[in-house]
Symmetry: C2
Subunit: 410 residues, 2 copies
């Protein structure tokens, strides 16, 4: 049986426990929703102030060069690259995840012009499915998008398949897919592989280089703590740069943007995927938030994530046997950094927990999600969260209509 003192001892021994001080957290609240929106870091707040009060206020238009604004998408990309196992010059930060997916899908379908099928996961996040269908409709040839059960991937792969797009960690269940094995399967079929890292970056160790990934994109506002609607990141393997075309080009991706040439000629490297002037204030928040990663390795983060989620699963099953179905895989190699618990009354449970200061979220029809961000979630938080879940369940307060009645949710 796990005691609170055991948890406190684990926090004491935790090599990265001091990083929690870099975050602004509400006292008394246990934040287990960093898989939806990461909290404010002191550095993010400081960097935004600096950009507004110094770079913008004093430097004005001169700061595009003098403060390095123009280069921020690639500068931040290089800083983010190690978190996904990429090389410098392979990552860009800008736009949103969906726009980056549009760019990758549009470009990739051009590269496999003799193939007409795109495979994705029927359980994928819905924006991913909408954008792949939209870009397939504009591929310039008839395309078929198949949203399949991912277990059927091997069967569906053929020499008709141009592109496979999968989300590495399932947003509902928290299941992590075998990036290396699947990428190899896809390549063996002659197709290109695009990974969505929305629930992976900053949550699990990623090795795009070792896994031979072609393309990837992810968002900046979950485990990377870049703020609500933060810019996203884009990965294009070095071998595809100069080959993959940006289907949504803009002047800042031109080889000579200030020559104002009528004909588009892409810049070298990742700069070719820049469309518009970067959103400098939004990038400042993400840039600040990335500073904390200089003080932790992804190996440390991953080890703690697994320990936290193991402990959460054990405590929930010990204290509330049979109450929830643990949807997230037990096997470490199949688990992201969240735990999903299934319960028919999950909606009310999450609302009641929020009132009790445990912030998780709910996904239809019956999934309670709890994200464990190792940079600021402590072992005692896991213990205390389960205590409060026990209180909510044994009191049946979640059945009170102020919790169980549906409101719009995020």
């Amino acid at each position: 049986m796990i005691l609170r003192d055991d948890c406190a001892a684990l926090d004491e021994a935790d090599e990265i426990s001091d990083l929690r001080a870099e975050f602004r957290l509400n006292s008394g609240e246990i934040y287990l929703d960093g898989n939806s929106l990461g909290p404010v870091t002191h550095a993010a707040s400081r960097r935004v102030n600096e950009v507004i009060n110094v770079e913008w206020a004093k430097g004005l238009v001169r700061s595009w060069n003098a403060a390095g604004w123009m280069a921020e998408p690639t500068t931040l990309g290089d800083r983010l690259a190690p978190l996904i196992g990429a090389q410098p010059g392979e990552v860009l930060v800008a736009d949103t995840l969906t726009f980056f997916l549009a760019k990758l899908i549009g470009g990739a379908l051009d590269l496999r012009a003799d193939r007409h099928v795109v495979l994705t996961d029927v359980a994928n996040f819905h924006s991913d499915i909408y954008i792949v269908e939209a870009m397939a409709r504009r591929a310039g040839r008839p395309m078929v998008v198949k949203a399949i059960d991912r277990s059927a991937l091997e069967k569906e792969l053929s020499d008709d398949v141009a592109l496979v797009m999968l989300t590495h960690v399932d947003f509902r269940t928290g299941e992590m897919l075998d990036m290396k094995g699947i990428t190899k399967q896809v390549h063996d079929a002659g197709a290109l592989m695009l990974w969505d890292f929305a629930h992976s970056a900053g949550a699990v160790e990623l090795d795009v280089t070792g896994c031979d990934v072609d393309f990837a994109a992810g968002c900046g506002y979950k485990y990377l703590n870049g703020g609500p609607g933060a810019p996203a990141f884009l990965y294009v393997r070095e071998r595809w740069q100069g080959v993959l075309e940006n289907p949504l080009p803009g002047w800042l991706g031109h080889a000579r943007p200030f020559n104002f040439e009528l004909t588009y000629e892409p810049a070298q490297g990742m700069q070719a995927f820049v469309t518009s002037s970067p959103s400098v204030i939004a990038l400042a928040a993400l840039g600040g938030a990335l500073e904390v990663w200089e003080h932790a390795t992804m190996a440390q983060v991953r080890a703690k994530s697994l320990a936290l989620t193991d402990m959460f699963i054990t405590l929930v099953e010990d204290r509330l046997p049979g109450v929830f179905e643990v949807v997230t895989p037990r096997e470490h190699h199949k688990r992201g950094s969240q735990v999903a618990l299934r319960h028919a009354e999950g909606y009310g449970i999450i609302q009641a927990l929020i009132e009790r200061g445990v912030i998780g979220d709910f996904r239809d029809p019956d999934i309670c999600r709890f994200g464990f961000a190792p940079l600021y979630v402590r072992y005692v938080d896991v213990y205390d969260a389960v205590e409060r879940i026990v209180e909510v369940m044994t009191s049946e307060m979640y059945r009170d209509e102020r919790f169980s009645q549906r409101k719009p949710v995020t």
Copy 2:
């Protein structure tokens, strides 16, 4: 002859002169580059702080609903609508100008599927040309994009033309086009009309309703002062809503985003054009910056803009006869809110002026641009700016190689 005292008297009499106090400006500097990047407003800075330190820090993920984040694109759109003469429910704020153009172009070409020509202006901003060509390539049928001399528009209009895309105020010359007349011409030919308001919004009076404009988009970082790379705005006339399809759809544009449905079904109204989670911090800066517009009418702003640019042209021609070619039209109905002066050594002149505290900018090959934002530019600033231009020209300091030697410019 205009004296500095005359200018001071005009400032004294100016009904909107007190709005200058809402801006943070460098003392001793005359900022005539608000047509590239508007300055910081106190309100923008305050709103960003509030979003970070209260809404994000305390509310965390709950703020998507509790603080109205989810609705910000339409909330800000409704606030911005009066500046362009639109109705509530016709404007959205999000993304970037180029992404909004992509959405409009893609959707518009679908609406005129029996036509294969797009007309645009060879003098258009280059991103506009790149994106219209990119979207035309993905229209699902062979399209021809013609970048024409805009004086040839009438001749080029035919029943082959699906869409005409023009920028309302020329980014180089500051010439303003006849929105009403051209829109009617285009409609008479059975084509759709898309206006780029990058250099118009907040600079000149706009009446999209009265001019029967179909679609428009503009950026938030010039005369709207939303900050570097601020979100853009999108206008879709009410009659096209529910008809025009968003070619880059995302979950937040779905009719029921939290049902996570596999099939995309657009939301009602402008919400259908939302793709991704809005960039809340960037929107906060723009939202703050829009507050100042509650204290000035566009008629007041336009009247002062014309007075400032008239005065600038007069002073330049009086003090430096024959030195510059005034490229910007004299006729008020053809002038935006900037004055472009042509000079073969314009690059060095602008650099020298920046050192002397007059911030304008240069556009290849020989255009010196000076933007006059009536909310913070005073009549005495016009007088003083011309004084410094006279000093720079008579001293020939602009020929010093520290000014004349080319560096990357914005």
